[in-house]
Point group: C2
Amino acid sequence: MYIEDYQKSRYLVIIDKLKEEIDRGNLTAGERLPSETELAKNFKVSRSTVREALRALEQENIVTKKHGIGTFINQKPLYSNGIEELFSVTDLIQRKGYTPGTKLIFSDYIIPNKHEKQKLSLKDNEKILLVKRIRTSNGEPLVYCIDKVPQYLLPNECKLDRESIFDFLEAKVNIKIDYATTSIGTTSYLPEISDALKCDMDTPLLVLKQSHYDENDQLVLYSINYFRSDNFNFHVFRKRLK
Amino acid sequence: MYIEDYQKSRYLVIIDKLKEEIDRGNLTAGERLPSETELAKNFKVSRSTVREALRALEQENIVTKKHGIGTFINQKPLYSNGIEELFSVTDLIQRKGYTPGTKLIFSDYIIPNKHEKQKLSLKDNEKILLVKRIRTSNGEPLVYCIDKVPQYLLPNECKLDRESIFDFLEAKVNIKIDYATTSIGTTSYLPEISDALKCDMDTPLLVLKQSHYDENDQLVLYSINYFRSDNFNFHVFRKRLK
DNA sequence: ACGGATTTGTTCGTATGTATA
DNA sequence: CTATACATACGAACAAATCCG
């Protein structure tokens, strides 16, 4: 009987219901929601619970609250490639509806140089697995990926050559990548990389250097991704503070 | 007497106090905060208020809460140029401790082309103010800015040649820019722009195309910024969802 | 310009649920 | 199993912003 809604907090249920209303078109862009008091009455919960739900929706940029006026459905649905959400290259390609592929260039354990040692905060004698791959989207080269993982995190002999590193770490080693700090820059023609991506000397590359952390704030993966930027952009939603 | 702390909500005060403790080093990275109940007792507020403060700090990526364990100061210092926060180029330069400057290239009202008309959702006959400027940091050219503002938003004859457009719109026209949707890409050498930025043919440019909206979701400014990327990176904090 | 009605913001106190050590 | 810590939920009160007659 009460198996149905078992263990789902009320405010989460309200979020789902409101999102459904929006998807279904009963609530459209720019429209004002019923007041918090009204919503509370409708959903038969307290105003606090409604506010909890609205807060989450505001954080997702789905609604905007205005003091003394009301809560409004946002104009901009956004969700393009919002770069502020961390996903693997595999995910990135799949979300665009394309088929991801991988060409392995290099994969082996190496002795880290000073810079790598510092980035991954390694002790002496600790090696890293260095993987270089070209990721393709429907067969077309899109990204040149260089990934570095400390050896001590990995099972023996593992080469990480095929699958998504994110998926592998999660499935086989039980490491969940939680967040990353990323720097975004560019570079001009680099022989090794530009040629592999089949782009000419005039095509600059978009470079993402990322330090990935797990849920315990351990740095588990440092990666450099070179994107062909002629047919590729990232998007960010930027919000003014204060 | 009571003029001092006039009208500042308690949770904001708590946020400031906790940040101060962190800055001062009394609370260091990785450390666990006192429990919510304890903090409430210390600050002489209810636990709800403490939670309100902690929620905000979590959103700013300053602390992480773990169910049943505690609240922890984050490892990562974060936000150098967190691009997810929207600020003007003037702010950007000032935050780095440099002195911003401006060289005006062009400023006049023009009849928009089809693309501009669509981007700014203009009616027929509506002109736009087109401004092209080089922004300098301690005298060195850093960004080439192209800004487009619908004429009907501006006072007569205004040319926006000197100051920050953000500041001008806020101070003189009472338009507050609230958020922007941004695409990040690159471009190779462009004569007009690369030369102005004094960079050679091998230096790619980082391109930010931004649609700026005010608090009523009105598109008020479309801008294209070309950054010299040889001495400049953006940073993003990317978080995994789910 | 004023006042009252509406709406969101802040704070409190309390109770109960759930995760972790 | 128990104590601790965070998560969810309720209801109440007052503050502050906005709107409208």
